[in-house]
Each structure stands twice: as structure tokens, then as C-alpha cells.
């Protein structure tokens, strides 16, 4: 089956025909900044582009202090802050609460406070597993960290990565957004995913200048 070939010239001509307004682009960017919580950047962007954030920037600030506390490993602080913001969030999101408690344990292990960690695991994490069986697997993995001398290189060592904090922070951020009736996912990443999907679909039918590097958005010549 021969695929249709589209030259770079043809493609660029087609791209020129697609009209996307600057306002729409700005809205996408603002939506990203607001959802991810980059308050200062959003404020600056608002001034420069005249795009309205659509939410009270003060609420973003609240949300951001929570996110930052968590990203720096101050889980207890993050919990207190989110409870001040809206006490019903953690009460109605058992999985999120479990992940926060899990993060606390991880932080205790990371700072070498093994005895405290053991006590915490017993008093705070074990009940979570009793309350909800679906948490048991993750619980076991986390508690297993206590067994290893060289924690960073053990089978579950990736739990100690900063990426784990970011994952939990993202979960918390989404829950806060939902409680505020905001969409929890920014549109920009979804659009990028759609771009990749669309290109994959088109790959089966045609050879065309493709974007392979999302950071540069450079068009690579069609492979014939």
C-alpha cells in the first residue's frame, strides 16, 4: 500500500491556512498558568497580554502555598493548609489522604528518622490499610522501605524520588481545583497529546513533515 506524500512546501501552505487567533493562544497559556498555579507569572501575563485569568488570583495563591509545602517535603504543613482552605477535601478523597500520609512516611525515612517512621507507620498508615483494602499493596511497598539499609537503591527506591512528591502534589492540586469547580487538567497538555495521536493516525496514510520534538516544534522532512 503506497502512502500519499506531502512535501514541505505543500504542508507549510496548509499550515498557513489554519487560522488561530492570538486571543485563543493566550487563553490556553493563561489556563495552563492558572491550573498549574504559577501566580506571579499569571499576573505578569495578565498585564502584558490583557488576558483575564478567569479566577481570583488570590485563590491560586492559597493553592500554591499548599503545593509548594508539599514539593518541599513539608507534608504536615501542606495538610494543615489544605484543611484551612477547605476541610472537606481530604475527608472526601480517601486515596489522596492516603498518599499524603504515605508521603509523610517517605519523608521520615528520607531524613533517617527510622524510629519515628516505624511508629508513624504503625499509628497512621496501618489504619488506612485496615479502612480500605485497596491501599494495602502500596502500603506494603512503602513500609518495605524500612527494611533496606541502602534505601535509595532498593526495589522501591523510586518512592524516594522527588517525582513521587510531585505526583502527590499534582493529585492534591487537582482535588483543590475540583472542589473549587475548576477543571483540574490544563488544556495545553491534552492538546499536545492530541497532536501526537493525530500524527500517529496520519502516519498510516501519508508521509508528511512531522513534529518529532515537541520542545522545538521543528518540522522534520517526510520520510519516503
Amino acid at each position: 500500500m503506497s502512502k500519499k506524500v506531502i512535501t514541505r512546501d505543500e504542508w507549510e501552505r496548509k499550515l498557513k491556512d489554519v487560522k488561530i487567533t492570538k486571543e485563543d493562544m493566550n487563553k490556553l497559556i493563561m489556563n495552563f498558568l492558572v491550573t498549574e498555579g504559577y501566580v506571579d507569572t499569571a499576573e505578569k501575563f495578565r498585564i502584558e497580554s490583557g488576558t483575564e485569568p478567569g479566577v481570583d488570583l488570590a485563590t491560586i495563591t492559597d493553592r500554591m502555598t499548599v503545593k509548594q509545602a508539599l514539593q518541599s517535603g513539608n507534608v504536615e504543613d501542606a495538610i494543615e493548609k489544605v484543611n484551612d482552605l477547605n476541610p472537606t477535601i481530604l475527608d472526601t478523597n480517601p486515596q489522596l489522604y492516603f498518599h499524603l500520609q504515605q508521603q509523610r512516611l517517605i519523608e521520615l525515612i528520607r531524613s533517617g528518622k527510622i524510629e519515628e517512621a516505624l511508629e508513624f507507620a504503625q499509628e497512621e498508615l496501618a489504619p488506612r490499610g485496615e479502612e480500605n483494602q485497596s491501599f494495602l499493596e502500596e502500603l506494603e511497598k512503602t513500609v518495605a522501605l524500612l527494611v533496606f539499609e541502602d534505601v535509595k537503591n532498593c526495589p522501591y527506591g523510586d518512592l524516594l524520588d522527588v517525582s513521587q512528591r510531585l505526583k502527590t502534589a499534582s493529585e492534591l492540586n487537582a482535588a483543590i481545583l475540583t472542589s473549587q469547580s475548576h477543571e483540574k487538567d490544563p488544556k495545553l497538555p491534552s492538546l499536545l497529546k492530541k497532536l501526537i495521536w493525530t500524527q500517529n493516525q496520519l502516519d498510516e496514510k501519508a508521509a508528511y513533515p512531522k513534529i518529532n520534538n515537541l520542545t522545538t516544534a521543528a518540522l522534520d522532512d517526510p520520510v519516503v
Binding site: I79, E80, N83, N86, P87, T88, L90, D91, T92, N93, P94, Y97, L108, K113, E116, E119, F120, E123, E124, P127, E130, E131, S179, S181, E183
Partner: protein, 675 residues
């Protein structure tokens, strides 16, 4: 908590709570409240611990005191205490029954309500959120909306700018509105209009209002009609738009609303167009994760219930395939599985096309060896009772497919075995559905009869036929009757042995007509195909049974009983001369009150089936090939039967007319030969 933070042990924190005495004050009290709150939020174990320590009444007393002092204009320092106390109370009421009880017992609600009008927004938010938690519990008291004072209060809450407050109002209304009277009072007060206008708000507010609207219109035709008239149909349009909202939960809630309105006052949501759209939307929502996907099949079932047109629509957009795909998933939530099975049952309840699609090879899974039917049969053994019940209903509806029953697509030993297992289920409603399914299967699948016997099904059926529950008696008897349909001698003997004469006679004499009728039909199936009584009964059995049959015919408690009884006599009338004579005597006998004989009475019936059954009997009695027929004809003549027959020559039923002519022909032969 780690052992280093000694002062935060629950016992010690609780000791610091309260008003006066040893309790903390000012900043220390605030800290203690905050500590409790942060410990219990999300943590069921801590909540229970603090409950046991008696923390709730203490916190409520702090709240009460702060509210009083705040109303007295004492100071802004009360606000933080109120906020923390309210938040803690709300958290106790979240997800823990004992917590709700403790909060209610401690009298928290009035205080929380009083802070809804506080000047500090944070206080109002705290109060509204906590009250919402409380009113989301089934244990919360109903708010009496029939009292003007209360109704006005709710309306004022609905008018608030604060979304937490309006959501609370919607929640209270949804919780408290049960009777038609309450729904009407709310409708009269303009609540529905206000809720519709709030549908333009944030998504959380939308959801709260949709749930509330549904509660107010549900099962109330007057209120539903009035809703449909709001803004000349603008309210309905608003709901219709929301079925395409960006959030799945909102789409689901608006579907539920429209379905509720449609059921309560059909004329407004009658258009097939809107209903078809709803089918489409719900079919998509089936694939959503979480509670939306769990609840969607239930709503779908409600929407299409008893509506063949909608069944067809669903079929045309591959809903059955979608539902079946879920059955292939290895780990599916019980609730979702129950919903899917119920939706499939509904679709298979009427249309053969639907049943065939479910059973057709195109709905195989990736693992070609597993059929959808087998997956449903597996669910008959599920841990969850509701799933078992749903699977049972599904099987029962599938077995309405005569085509597939005959073709043997349902010939599967496992079905019978599992259904028999369900005959032992503690729930009688599950037993009933299992009986329904067996009833269908056993008629056509003669091969399944041996399985039924082997796995103890017959014994259990007989046991159920003596149950205190008349519906169980009736249904199990129906299965036994169907079992005996065209049964061979071995099977008949097996049933008789298990059933016992005593039980059979008592069933023939059952208080319920429907059961008498089934028992008579069972006897019919027993004697069908026999040429004499010895083939099936001993002399003693036979006379006892015949006594019971004739007694019921005399009592004539229902049309069905009479018809079945006459069929029994017809069958016996095909036997020996002696038998024919006995039947004749029964038919022409009349008691001292000179009521008409059975024969006359039934021949004069308005029901053609009864007339026909009687004519069949007479046909057999006057059969020329039998020696004693001529003397029987004389008896019939004397009893006025022939006269009656002659008066029926214009019977409206052609079948009756035909048999009538045949009887008269046979009788005339004897008359002629006599003369």
C-alpha cells in the same frame, strides 16, 4: 503521631477542649481545636477515638459559647474559634455514623445554622460546609418544609450569593423532601424557579441543584408538569442542554432529572427524540470510570423500562455490545456489575432481537472460548446478593427466547446447576427469579430434566412447593408442571415419588386459586399420554386425586381452575368405559338446591376455553368406539345436556362450533340406532 509530640495525644488534646473548668482558653483553645480538626480529617480511626473520648459535646459547647459571644458583638477573635469548631464538627459527621449521631445529640445543628448569617465569610463557609456534611447523612433530621418559617429560611439560603450556602440549601431540600405534599409546598414557594436559575453557576452548584430538582419532581405528576411549564419550557431546555455538559457527573444528573420528569408526567418528555438522545448519552456514560459509570446502567434501565421502541434504539447503537464488553473485565465493581446485568435484563425482556444479539457469536470476547452467557451464568455465584439477583433476572429474560431454547444455545448444564443453587438462597426474591428462569428452561430442554433431578433440584422444588410463601409455592409448582410436560414415565414416577400424594392433594386444595390451577395442570401433564389410570396412579391415589379435582370443579373458585379441571376430566374420559361412566356421573350430577349440573354450567360459560374444554370432554364420553357410549348419551339426554348443546349451534367460537357439531353427530348416531 510520633512519640516526641507528647502534647498532641488525643487524650490530652481532648482535655483542653470545652468551656470553663480545666479547659484551655484563647489561643490555647484555638490551637487545641485546630489540632483535633487536623487529626481527624480523612482519618476514620482518629474520629472514632475522639468520639470515645467525648470530644464532640465539648467542641459543640465551645461553638455555642463563641456564637453567643459573637452575637453579643464581643469581638472578632471569636471568628477563628467558630471556624475551627465548625470544621471539626463537620468532619466528625463525615462518613462515620457514630459521628453524625454524636453531632446531632450534642445539638450542633442550631448553632451551625445561626452562623450562616455571620458577617465573616469564612465563618459562613465553615457553617455551610459542616451542615452539608450532616445533611448528606441519612441520619440527619428531616427539615420540616411544611412550616412557613422553615420554608422561608430555606428560600433565603437559596437567595444567597455564597455558593456554599446555596449548595447547602439544595442539599437540605433534597434530604428533606419526601412526600407529595412537601414537594408541592416547595414548588408553590418557587423553589424550582430559583434552582433553575442557579443552574448557570459553577459545576458544583449545578450538581447540587440537579439533585435537588430531581428530589422535588420525583414521582409527582403535578410538580413535574409545573416544572415543564417554567419559562414556557425554558427549564426543560436548560436540563436538555446539560445532558451535554463537559462534566460526566453533571450529564448523568441531568439525565436522571429528565428521566424522573418523563416518568412522572409523560407528556412533556414524551418525544422519542429526547429519549433517544438520553439513550445515547447514557450509553457513553457507561464507559466513564468511578461512580458515573457505576450509576449509568441503572439510569439506562429506568429510562428504557417497558419501552420496546427504546429497546430498539438501544440495540441500534450497540448498547448491548457495550454492556457485554464490561462483563469481560476481570475485576469489575459489584455495583457496576449489578447495573450492567440489570440493563441487559431489561433489554432482553421483550425483544427477541436483543436476546439473539446477546447470545450471538459476534459478542464473544477476545478470548473466543468465553461466551457472554457463560459470564452471566458465572455471576449467579457472585459474592454480592444484588449481583446474583441481577444475573438471575438476566438469565430468566434470556430464556424467554424460544428460538434459542429450541436451538440448544441455552443447553448448558451449568445454568441449571447454578439456578438450583439459587433455590437455596436466603433471599426469597432471588429464589423466585431462579424459579422463573427454570420454568422457561425446563419446558423445552428435555435434556436438562436429568440434570435437574441429579443435582437435587426436584427435591428442592418439592420443598418450596410447601413453603409458607404462596408466591414460592406457585412458582415452584409451575416449574414442576413444566417438568412434566411431555415427560416420560421415568420422569413422571420420579416426580410423584418426591411430591407424594399427600402434598399433591393438599396443593389441589390450596387456598390460592392460582395454585389450585397449577396443581390441576400438573395432574394433566401427569396423565397426559396414559391410556389408563394404572399407568400412573394406584387406585387409592387416583380416587383421592379425582375427589380433589371434582371438589374444586364444584367450588369453581376461578376460571382457570375450571378449565384445567375440565382438561383433567377430558383426559380421564379418554380412558376405560368405567372411567367414562364416572366422569359422566360427575358432570350431570346436581345438588339438592337444583343448581345446574357442572356440564350445563360450563357449557353456558362466557369463556370459550371453558366451553371448549367441556366439549372435548363430551366428545370423549360419547366416542362411538366405546361400548357404553350409548347409555351415556341417554344419561346426557336425560340431564338436558343434548338440549343445551343444540341451543349452542351459533356459538361465536369456531373451534367450539366444530367440536359441538362433532358431539351432536356422535349423539345423533346413538339416537338413530336406538330408534
Amino acid at each position: 503521631m510520633p512519640s516526641s509530640a507528647v502534647t498532641n495525644r488525643p487524650e490530652e488534646v481532648t482535655a483542653r477542649l470545652g468551656v470553663g473548668g480545666g479547659a484551655a482558653q484563647g489561643e490555647a483553645l484555638l490551637k487545641a481545636l485546630r489540632e483535633v480538626k487536623n487529626q481527624i480529617i480523612g482519618n476514620k480511626t482518629k474520629k472514632l477515638l475522639y468520639l470515645q473520648l467525648g470530644a464532640v459535646p465539648k467542641i459543640v459547647s465551645v461553638l455555642a459559647a463563641s456564637v453567643a459571644s459573637s452575637l453579643g458583638g464581643a469581638g472578632l477573635e471569636d471568628a477563628p474559634v467558630i471556624v475551627q469548631a465548625a470544621a471539626a464538627i463537620g468532619s466528625f459527621a463525615c462518613g462515620v455514623e457514630d459521628g453524625v449521631r454524636a453531632v446531632l445529640d450534642a445539638g450542633a445543628v442550631p448553632h451551625l445554622i445561626s452562623i450562616l448569617s455571620h458577617h465573616d465569610d469564612k465563618v459562613v463557609d465553615a457553617g455551610a460546609r459542616s451542615l452539608k456534611m450532616i445533611f448528606q447523612s441519612k441520619m440527619a433530621p428531616k427539615y420540616d418544609v411544611l412550616q412557613d418559617k422553615n420554608l422561608n429560611f430555606i428560600l433565603s439560603l437559596l437567595d444567597s450569593d455564597n455558593e456554599n450556602v446555596t449548595e447547602l440549601a439544595a442539599c437540605i431540600i433534597a434530604h428533606s423532601c419526601e412526600t407529595n405534599e412537601e414537594q408541592k409546598a416547595l414548588c408553590d414557594a418557587g423553589v424550582l424557579q430559583r434552582l433553575v436559575s442557579l443552574l448557570g453557576g459553577s459545576s458544583n452548584q449545578k450538581d447540587a441543584c440537579l439533585e435537588c430538582i430531581k428530589a422535588v419532581v420525583k414521582d409527582n405528576s403535578e410538580v413535574s408538569s409545573r416544572f415543564s411549564c417554567i419559562g414556557n419550557g425554558k427549564a426543560l431546555k436548560a436540563l436538555s442542554d446539560l445532558i451535554q455538559d463537559r462534566y460526566p457527573y453533571t450529564r448523568l444528573l441531568s439525565c436522571k432529572c429528565l428521566i424522573a420528569i418523563g416518568h412522572a408526567s409523560p407528556s412533556y418528555v414524551e418525544e422519542l427524540q429526547i429519549k433517544t438522545k438520553l439513550v445515547l448519552v447514557l450509553a457513553e456514560l457507561l464507559e466513564e470510570p468511578g461512580r458515573v459509570g457505576d450509576e449509568a446502567p441503572f439510569s439506562l434501565k429506568k429510562l428504557i423500562a417497558d419501552n420496546e421502541e427504546l429497546h430498539k434504539q438501544a440495540l441500534s447503537i450497540n448498547v448491548i455490545e457495550k454492556l457485554c464488553n464490561f462483563l469481560h473485565m476481570s475485576s469489575i465493581q459489584s455495583r457496576r456489575l449489578q447495573g450492567i446485568l440489570l440493563a441487559l435484563s431489561e433489554l432482553c425482556s421483550k425483544l427477541e432481537k436483543c436476546r439473539c444479539q446477546l447470545l450471538s457469536p459476534q459478542v464473544y470476547s477476545l478470548n473466543l472460548e468465553v461466551r457472554v452467557l457463560d459470564l452471566v451464568i458465572d455471576s449467579l455465584e457472585h459474592d454480592c446478593a444484588e449481583v446474583r439477583a441481577a444475573a438471575c433476572i438476566c438469565i430468566r429474560n434470556i430464556t424467554r427466547s424460544l428460538k434459542n431454547l429450541s436451538a440448544g444455545s441455552l443447553s448448558n448444564e451449568a445454568v441449571v446447576i447454578r439456578l438450583v443453587q439459587l433455590l437455596y438462597d436466603p433471599s426469597s426474591s432471588i429464589q423466585l427469579v431462579a424459579l422463573g428462569a427454570l420454568c422457561n428452561i425446563i419446558v423445552i430442554c428435555a435434556s436438562r430434566k436429568s440434570v435437574l433431578i441429579r443435582c437435587g433440584g426436584v427435591s428442592q422444588l418439592v420443598r418450596l412447593s410447601t413453603s409458607m410463601d404462596s408466591t414460592l409455592r406457585l412458582k415452584s409448582l409451575s416449574v414442576l408442571r413444566n417438568f412434566l410436560f411431555l415427560a416420560n414415565t421415568t420422569d413422571k414416577e420420579c416426580i410423584l415419588k418426591e411430591l407424594s400424594l399427600h402434598t399433591l392433594v393438599s396443593l389441589l386444595n390450596d387456598a390460592e386459586h392460582s395454585i389450585q390451577e397449577q396443581a390441576l395442570a400438573l395432574v394433566n401433564n401427569l396423565i397426559d399420554g396414559c391410556s389408563s389410570v394404572e399407568h400412573i396412579f394406584t387406585e387409592k391415589c387416583y380416587s383421592l386425586i379425582l375427589d380433589a379435582v371434582t371438589r374444586q370443579l364444584k367450588q369453581a373458585s376461578s376460571l382457570g381452575v375450571c378449565i384445567q379441571g375440565m382438561f383433567v376430566l377430558s383426559n380421564i374420559a379418554a380412558w376405560s368405559d368405567f372411567d367414562k361412566d364416572s366422569v359422566t356421573d360427575y358432570l350431570i350430577a346436581y345438588d339438592d338446591n337444583h343448581k345446574p349440573s357442572l356440564a350445563i354450567k360450563f357449557l353456558q360459560s362466557n369463556d370459550k376455553s371453558l366451553r371448549l374444554a367441556s366439549l372435548w370432554c363430551l366428545l370423549n364420553l360419547t366416542n362411538p368406539s366405546s361400548a357404553g357410549s350409548s347409555r351415556r348419551v341417554t344419561k346426557l339426554q336425560t340431564a338436558g345436556i343434548i338440549f343445551q348443546l343444540k341451543s349452542m349451534l351459533n356459538d361465536p367460537c369456531s373451534d367450539c362450533k366444530l367440536r359441538l357439531r362433532m358431539v351432536l353427530e356422535q349423539c345423533t348416531e346413538f339416537e338413530t340406532s336406538q330408534a
